[in-house]
């Protein structure tokens, strides 16, 4: 496998590394508070991209059963749950849904974090009249 094949087949992971570094750079080096919050949001979505890329699979379909459920056999649930007969689930045909469910929570938590951070930025602006970090530091040193 030559270098280009490796580069393309791992493209999601390279993009995840680049996005994470963009977010980290914005959080550390940017002077404006809203820019720092935007960097934090990018950092969070980079982690989500990593987790969804783990679950992705070539040639598989979305995790919804193709053949439906096992036929009703007179309330014999223990027998139906083992998946005998035609309704057996082939796990290799489906994308792994576990990272998706985890990242569903992470997206909602990310928006909550963004809301709290923006509310704090608004309070800082009402207190100091600016969103630039160096101007806030000057105000703090003076008074």
């Amino acid at each position: 496998m030559d270098f280009l094949t490796v580069l393309i087949s791992r493209a999601n992971y390279w993009a995840y590394i680049i996005l994470m570094m963009i977010g980290l750079y914005a959080m550390i080096a940017k002077n404006n508070l809203v820019k720092k919050i935007v960097g934090m949001s990018i950092f969070q979505t980079a982690v989500i991209l990593f987790y969804v890329s783990i679950g992705a699979k070539q040639g598989a379909t979305i995790p919804i059963l193709l053949h439906g459920h096992a036929p009703e056999t007179g309330g014999n649930l223990a027998h139906a749950a083992t998946g005998h007969g035609t309704a057996a689930v082939q796990a290799v045909n489906y994308i792994n849904p576990l990272p998706h469910v985890l990242m569903l929570t992470a997206i909602v938590v990310g928006v909550a974090t963004l809301g709290v951070a923006l509310a704090l930025a608004i309070k800082v602006y009402k207190e100091y009249g600016t969103l630039e970090e160096n101007e806030i530091n000057q105000r703090l040193r003076r008074g």
Partner: protein, 81 residues
């Protein structure tokens, strides 16, 4: 997963992220973050994570863009970087 589409969307996502942190206007940064979230929503749909794509489109792109625009209108659009 279609790798050609995946690569194109990945490049667009990285361009949107770099533009969002480098633009000299906070309202533009908020809108670019919304575009970034919608491109990520397309990426989840390509990778087969349709539930994550739905959540990203409604919560990630919709609500967080509204939050950012509201915060910018309560504060200022001025930024030095």
């Amino acid at each position: 997963m279609i790798w050609q589409l995946d690569l194109i969307i990945l490049v667009l996502v990285i361009v949107c992220a770099i533009a969002a942190i480098n633009v000299k206007d906070l309202l533009s940064a908020a809108i670019l973050l919304g575009a970034y979230s919608f491109l990520l929503c397309l990426l989840w749909a390509i990778m087969g994570a349709v539930d994550v794509a739905f959540t990203e489109a409604t919560v990630g792109a919709g609500v967080s863009t509204v939050f950012c625009v509201a915060a910018v209108f309560h504060t200022t659009r001025r930024t030095t970087d």
